[in-house]
Symmetry: C2
Subunit: 433 residues, 2 copies
């Protein structure tokens, strides 16, 4: 039986702040970064995962991943749902490390990176992409992946089983459909706050020409600017294209309501991160007051317990799971089950570095084996940094193609790791540049 | 003008897991630890602060504190409310580091450690203990300390000012009363889960003899054990002593309600941390169903936004602020103002290492200048590890004495830092032991 015999952790940073890609109301100058983890097996493929950060502190995130090494090195390579459930529980359950969260922030993202690397390893060994590896599990196995602690007032294991069992019918057809047609995407590329009006209009028209039926604009810096930009975008794309807007946590509850009422004439589809991601009651209040505009959040939602409450409170019209914020695949399965239970569509957060690569697996699994629905669902698409991955996300005609290579698509090219390693790679030292 | 010219960060750990002091249902073997920070001034006293952890991961916490160095080193030594507000905003507002939270977990505790060290430094320079340094500020200055982002749906700056202005009357008398009589304490020392029944009974009786009118027991491991232990404790202390119980997040909502109904015959005063500290709606549901038993939480509540919602939802009968979990004194001032606005008593979490030393300043400030009330308020007292501090907390006759030395009482003895430094101090290498 093969074993995990070593773990490497690398601080990899991309100098995205030199352009204004990724600029928004709260994050003016991000350097998209990954605290990147490799699980070495003594036989067969290795496993790859990462936590996503935006620059400073990526070293702290890497240190938090290293703190998990003793839980992983020495284990048999996980091969099935039971082994992946056990590994996830062990990482989340370290009683001393738990104090650093619990189940939130740096410590929890570290768990997510290692859990995702273990899934990558297991799926590579099974010679399947993660979305198929997951979809091929039985409902019992999938229920067994989930830690139901703190969830049973909203969903029980029996209810989860029922959701999964109902999705058994038509599973093979839906998998084939994904392989043939992919999964709908929407694009954030036109709408970064640092872009000029001309660039916004040009990229919005281009998005429609490329087959997207939804675009997203960053808002929250200045109301007059936002009104002008949203008007321009609406003129550019016409009335049949959805336009979402994203405030990146900029507002208090009252301001969010006022601002969205001012933008309402341009028919925004959702407002994303209107306020603190911790503010369940705030999202609830905003959702009540700006309907039918939907409220969306998730990229900073720390764990399943907060998502549970967002759903219980009817605070979310759209749930935006993130592959690298919570405790990895296992917790995201819990979140998909919660969303299915409450009938809320999941539109994952992506962009950043590597997030598009990962979340497509989760949405495709959701369609094949959990919600069995594509209604009002789309995966965010931001077209940058994909060239650094060995199994990059590809979007054609407004749809993510299904990944076919084994694993979770988290692996970066060796040349990327050498060049962008912080602080000693040539991209940062200035050598060879 | 003196400046901060350097910052040292130390990983200090105490081998408390060798005894069962501190054992509870979720934390069976904590090694109480501090990621300890020293701000060096080029003239006059230095400033001291720390984040509290329970062992593994204290190095990660220390790394997160080090990541803040560039924000602090080079600044003038803060001397007034405006400088302390500005420093706090700068630390919380680093847009790249913010991604690691936001405002939660390792990254936020790091901010808290540095902010608290800056308060220690400022108060030492002002030659006052922090509780007096704070109480001597004007209402305007105190309002200026607070970041009201995400709070204005619950408390506005004007409402905060009104609370503080109303407390101006009688401030000097209350400060004198604190100096003369101290502040009521309750004790957790009898109730650790690892203690025998005999030890529980003996220490419970001792607590009453020592002048305490409230004790606390850990629960949540086994219901029959808890019933037996609570019965024994009730018999030992009689009906006039309050007994709080603490489940350390062990339960789901439904189990919490059942368990507390089974313990209700022994008249527990509050149930602390019945479930996930992230579960605002869960605490609300529990509080509704077990009244008149109160629900208490706070030691793991990540920031003011979660406390805000706990109060909005009427989920808390008692608010347990923690000196080292949130973003330091500034955010704790916000939390005290929220509690005063909602009329909920604050009974700080202490124990750990150094928490008793710090929280007494916050409760005494609350009495002098914010809530102006002692009703149903008491500070947790756990009698261990105080010998490591240069200005240790002292409890006499069930009351914390008022600290009189300048600063925030966070400084440890040099001999302690040498002995308990991890992993190279002699306590951990085995030399000289």
């Amino acid at each position: 039986m093969p074993h995990i015999v070593g773990m490497d952790v690398l601080d990899v940073r991309f100098p995205t702040s030199r352009e204004l890609d990724g600029s928004d109301a709260m994050n003016p100058d991000p350097d998209y970064s990954a605290a990147y983890v490799v699980l070495h097996a003594d036989e067969g493929p290795d496993g790859y995962g990462f936590a996503f950060t935006i620059g400073r502190g990526n070293d702290v995130q890497a240190a938090a991943i290293r703190a998990l090494e003793s839980h992983v090195v020495g284990l048999p390579v996980p091969q099935d749902a039971a082994a992946l459930a056990s590994l996830s529980q062990q990482l989340v359950g370290d009683s001393q490390l738990r104090w650093l969260g619990p189940e939130k922030g740096v410590a929890h993202m570290a768990v997510g990176a290692v859990v995702n690397a273990a899934w990558d390893l297991a799926a590579r060994r099974a010679d399947k992409p993660v979305w198929q590896f997951l979809s091929d599990m039985t409902p019992e196995e999938i229920v067994g992946l989930v830690d139901f602690r703190y969830l049973t007032d909203a969903i029980t294991p029996d209810e989860a089983y029922e959701i999964l069992n109902n999705a058994q019918a038509g599973k093979a057809e839906r998998a084939n459909e994904i392989l043939a047609n992919g999964y709908r995407a929407y694009t954030t590329s036109p709408g970064w706050l640092g872009y000029s009006d001309d660039k916004l209009v040009r990229l919005s028209k281009q998005a429609v020409a490329d087959g997207f039926d939804m675009i997203k604009l960053k808002v929250g810096g200045d109301l007059d600017d936002d009104i002008r930009r949203l008007r321009l975008a609406r003129q550019a794309v016409g009335d049949d294209i959805r336009i979402a807007v994203d405030a990146n946590q900029r507002w208090d509850v009252g301001i969010a309501v006022e601002w969205m009422r001012a933008l309402a004439p341009f028919n925004p589809y959702w407002i994303e991160e209107p306020t603190s991601p911790d503010d369940i009651l705030g999202h609830q209040a905003i959702a009540e007051q700006i309907a039918p505009i939907k409220v969306a959040t998730g990229e900073h939602v720390q764990n399943r317990v907060v998502f549970k409450q967002m759903l219980q409170a009817k605070a979310l019209g759209v749930l935006q799971l993130d592959a690298a914020r919570v405790g990895g695949v296992n917790e995201n399965v819990a979140i998909l089950l919660l969303a299915a239970k409450f009938g809320v569509p999941v539109c994952p957060h992506a962009g950043g570095v590597g997030l598009c690569e990962l979340v497509r697996h989760l949405s495709m699994f959701d369609y094949v084996a959990v919600s069995a629905s594509k209604a009002d669902r789309a995966i965010e698409w931001v077209d940058h940094l994909h060239e650094h991955f060995t199994d990059p996300a590809i979007v054609r005609g407004g749809h993510y193609l299904a990944p076919r290579k084994p694993g979770f698509s988290a692996r970066m090219h060796d040349a990327t790791l050498r060049r962008y390693r912080f602080p000693d790679g040539p991209e940062w030292t200035g050598e060879n540049s």
